[in-house]
Amino acid sequence: MRSGIGTRLLGTAAVASLALLAVMALVITPQDVNQLDAVRFLYIHVPLATLMYVAFGVTAVASVLYLWPRYRARKWDLLAGASAEIGVVVTGLVLVTGSIWGRTTWGVYWTWDARLTTTAVLFVLFLGYLALRRVGGDIDARAKRNAIAALAAAIDMPIVHKSVEWWRTLHQKSSILDEETFMHPHIHGSMYWTVLLGIGAFLLLFSWLLVNRYRLAKLEDRLEDEGLERAIAERRAEADALTGAP
């Protein structure tokens, strides 16, 4: 199971678009009227936050497919785990980039407003999900337990997204996914296109990471199966040797 030509093209496209994003974000786009150069955090923080939703979204969909008897297959559990692992790393980066951006614009690294708190909760929930995945047991029972835990954790996702509308927060409201102004974005000219480019570039990176992490998960799975078969064969040989002995 070596990575195919498609995967390598995906990786190349991710690197190329990230390079283009760096030029757009750091050189081409103008300063913001209030934030000056600090606005450039927009081009990494918003794409990362989008990836967070996509990664945990993939985990949630794969978990539903596993729980649905008609579609139940081992691959959905492996895909859910692979995507959640990337999601947790991305959420960590969302918190870190947000924190640094917060220090330069708000004046504080952290405050317990609803957006920041619910995002931190999401991080801990999926960290717990990854810990749960490592707990042993029968393969099918484990996968079912994983899927239920993932769906429970996913309840926090719409809460994170809506937190800036449901409660008063220091964090500003959505600039992109604002239903009322979807076609009239809050972000200006080239800044807007650069955010969209950032989302595209990070989605390519995510796809590349997911393909590879999923491939690795399948290999791990096969190793586990073959290891088990070998262990059984060894025990059987031992037993044969014992009974076969005079």
Partner: protein, 149 residues
């Protein structure tokens, strides 16, 4: 074999791991919910709300939000005095310490502190920025529709 060793732990050890993992996650969640959501649901009171609740608030610590009134900002050594306004209600503020870099008149701020007489004694200023991002050089671009009244 390492593969065998991974398989070796029986049901009891698996269950113990599950319990420990759940306890760690629950403790972290409990901390976040108590610490966070207690504050988060009423993250700040606007200046007019705070003035209306002046009696109940006493010298209790809370967050207040308002727009910095132009022409009222007076810098002192290690302190800054200004007024904030919300729905026409003004609150005088005395802040101990340096304000953040982006602090300036006509922007909304969230302050942490308490009432001292009719003034608000603040020890933390947070600059609230909007979801609008506009280029600094207006000649190059047009005003985004969302900022047009």
């Amino acid at each position: 074999m390492a593969v065998e060793d991974q398989r070796a732990p029986g049901r009891t050890q698996g269950r113990r791991r599950l319990i420990i993992a759940s306890l760690v996650v629950l403790a972290a969640l409990g901390f976040l919910v108590v610490r966070g959501l207690g504050n988060a649901t009423l993250y700040f009171r606007t200046a007019d709300e705070a003035v209306a609740q002046r009696q109940q608030l006493g010298t209790e610590r809370f967050r207040i939000e308002g727009t910095v009134v132009d022409g009222t900002v007076k810098g002192m050594s290690n302190a800054v005095a200004f007024n904030i306004e919300s729905k026409g209600v003004r609150v005088p503020v005395l802040h101990q310490g340096d304000p953040p870099e982006l602090f300036k008149p006509n922007i909304p701020v969230v302050l942490e502190g308490h009432f001292q007489g009719d003034a608000f004694a603040s020890d933390r200023i947070m600059v609230k920025h909007s979801e609008d991002y506009v280029a600094k050089h207006p000649s190059r671009v047009t005003v985004p529709p969302s900022t047009v009244p």
